[in-house]
């Protein structure tokens, strides 16, 4: 009984700041918006149906899904060598190398985007180098468009992929790779035939995590896209704060949650079938 009592303060704060708002969100997604733009109490799926029938919603969903699938895959592919290096590094280096890979998680994403503006902007590092070599006359547009969003999102997802891969690969038995090498396999062959299959579950877990995070990312698409890139997250934000159409924003958020839940369930199913 005393255990319940000890959990009470934390549970109360979560009840007030989490359960109640999310329940209200679900409830408001069933409301209607009148032609005048006011919210009207209702209990219907009308708002959600309107969104589902709208081609723009599907365009947003497609953009969002392809964006986070591409960036997620690249992030995992780039995190793999980092995690492999950490795994084979001498123990005294492992801590520092892991810290360097994961620390960007706690640097505010807006701060990192300012760094990207200095790298990718018209007067940024890459354009300075390109102009110095003399390849281009006019600056290449690398920011305030989809390219910028893809680069920024990939970088922001990488630390999460590193986190999963460092934990996942740490458990693999490195003697298997040594055995392959002893038996005459080249490095490439050892990697393709031994390391990669062993790492597959960790890679899949990392991809799923970063895909889910990418789908709901807001700051990177908004700032790196310069207001010209539209994904589900930016649309929810605009509906809530610019159009002030709460039922539509809530319905869109519920659809997002539903799709994420579906993705998780599918993954569970696939894992079960694979076993």
């Amino acid at each position: 009984m005393i255990g319940l009592l000890l959990c009470l303060p934390a549970a109360l704060i979560l009840g007030l700041g989490f359960v109640w708002p999310v329940a209200l969100l679900a409830r408001i997604s069933l409301n209607r918006t009148t032609d005048m733009g006011a919210m009207e109490e209702a209990f219907s799926l009308e708002t959600m149906a309107k969104l589902v029938e709208d081609d723009f919603t599907w365009e947003l969903a497609w953009n969002t899904a392809t964006l986070s699938a591409t960036c997620g895959a690249i992030a995992v592919a780039l995190a793999l060598p980092v995690a492999l290096l950490i795994r084979s590094a001498p123990p005294q280096w492992r801590g520092l190398l892991s810290l360097m890979a994961v620390a960007p998680l706690l640097v505010s994403s807006t701060a990192r985007i300012v760094g990207w503006m200095a790298i990718l902007g018209d007067r940024g590092m890459i354009n300075a180098v390109l102009a110095w070599i003399g390849v281009v006359d006019d600056p290449v547009r690398l920011i305030n468009n989809w390219t910028g969003v893809r680069i920024g999102l990939t970088e922001s997802l990488m630390p999460y992929a590193c986190l999963v891969l460092i934990a996942g690969l740490g458990r693999l038995d490195s003697r298997l790779e040594e055995a392959a090498a002893t038996l005459g396999a080249t490095r490439t062959k050892t990697f393709l035939r031994v390391t990669l299959p062993l790492a597959a579950p960790a890679l899949a877990a990392a991809f799923l995590l970063v895909f889910v995070l990418g789908v709901s990312a807001f700051v990177t698409p908004r700032l790196m896209g310069g207001g010209r890139v539209f994904v589900v997250a930016t649309e929810i934000f605009d509906l809530a704060l610019e159009t002030v159409d709460w039922p539509a924003a809530a319905a869109m958020a519920m659809l997002l949650l539903g799709s994420l839940g579906l993705a998780m369930a599918l993954r569970g199913l696939v894992a079960k079938v694979a076993r």
Binding site: I13, S88, T110, R112, A240
Partner: protein, 262 residues
């Protein structure tokens, strides 16, 4: 097996991508120029001076620091006892509560922010201190509970039982034996909660108003509209705070363990 050069090269590329933005922010923040130009036309501290003399941004910095400190204390006071109960006591609903207290981490912050706006606006709590404290405490508590559950769980139960045998009440044993041993974990949890609140952008974007704003929100808006090195100096301030917390947490409990999901 020693890593081959292909792996090394690929890993260096990975690290370069991870660390480049923060390094560039650092370089640009000392720029003497008027834009985010690289290489900077000259070095100066003028944008730090501009930052310090910008009343709006300094007010936002003060708000963020106060908010983060309050949130860290609340998260520890509410999360600590819960973590102790989950790590040490057996009671009905323990598994459910452990899951529930981690639940906010499952939802995107964008959805949480929207939900909080819809809930707090009608009761006039949006853009107020209590509203922001509630929102930030909600996202900080799961971190506090997770880190402190591990910290309490790592203290051998025998020590507490020895204290009981010597006549201590369970409360005395928990406060005078287990808590001091778990103190590094508690400090790490507090530091991390401070940072979670200090860096929180998306939820705050939904909840701030003209009279109450936070530093990440101001930085977001600045970066949305203008591109001079002031925003780099601002970003540098946040990076330094984050770095301090990361190093503190790393020393106390190990950073990868604190933020890892298992």
């Amino acid at each position: 097996m020693r890593p081959g050069w292909v792996l090394r090269l690929a890993a260096i590329c990975g690290y370069a991508l991870l660390l480049a933005p923060a390094l560039l922010v650092c370089a640009i923040s000392f720029s003497a120029g008027d834009f985010l130009t690289f290489p900077p036309p000259g070095l100066s501290l003028r944008w730090y001076a501009a930052l310090v003399s910008n009343a709006e941004l300094m007010a936002a910095l003060r708000n963020s620091a106060v908010l983060a400190a309050v949130v860290a204390v609340i998260a520890l006071l509410a999360g600590g006892p819960a973590a102790y109960a989950i790590a040490r006591l057996d009671f009905p609903g323990r598994g459910f509560l452990a899951g529930f207290l981690a639940a906010p981490l499952l939802l995107p912050t964008l959805v949480l922010g929207l939900a909080l706006l819809l809930a707090l606006q009608p009761v006039k709590l949006a853009a107020t201190w209590p509203g922001l404290v509630l929102a930030h405490a909600m996202v900080a508590i799961p971190f506090a509970v997770r880190i402190m559950t591990t910290a309490f769980g790592a203290v051998p139960k025998d020590l507490e039982e020895a204290a009981w045998t010597l006549g201590a009440t369970p409360l005395q044993a928990a406060l005078r034996v287990t808590l001091p041993i778990a103190a590094p974990g508690a400090i790490a949890a507090g530091a991390l909660c401070f940072l979670v609140s200090f860096d929180e952008t998306v939820i705050s974007l939904f909840l701030v108003g003209p009279r109450l704003s936070t530093l990440p929100v101001e930085m977001f808006r600045y970066a949305e509209n203008r591109t001079d090195p002031l925003v780099a100096a601002l970003a540098m301030t946040l990076i330094i705070v984050a770095l301090a917390v990361v190093l503190l947490v790393e020393r106390l409990v190990g950073f990868t363990r604190a933020v890892g999901r298992n």
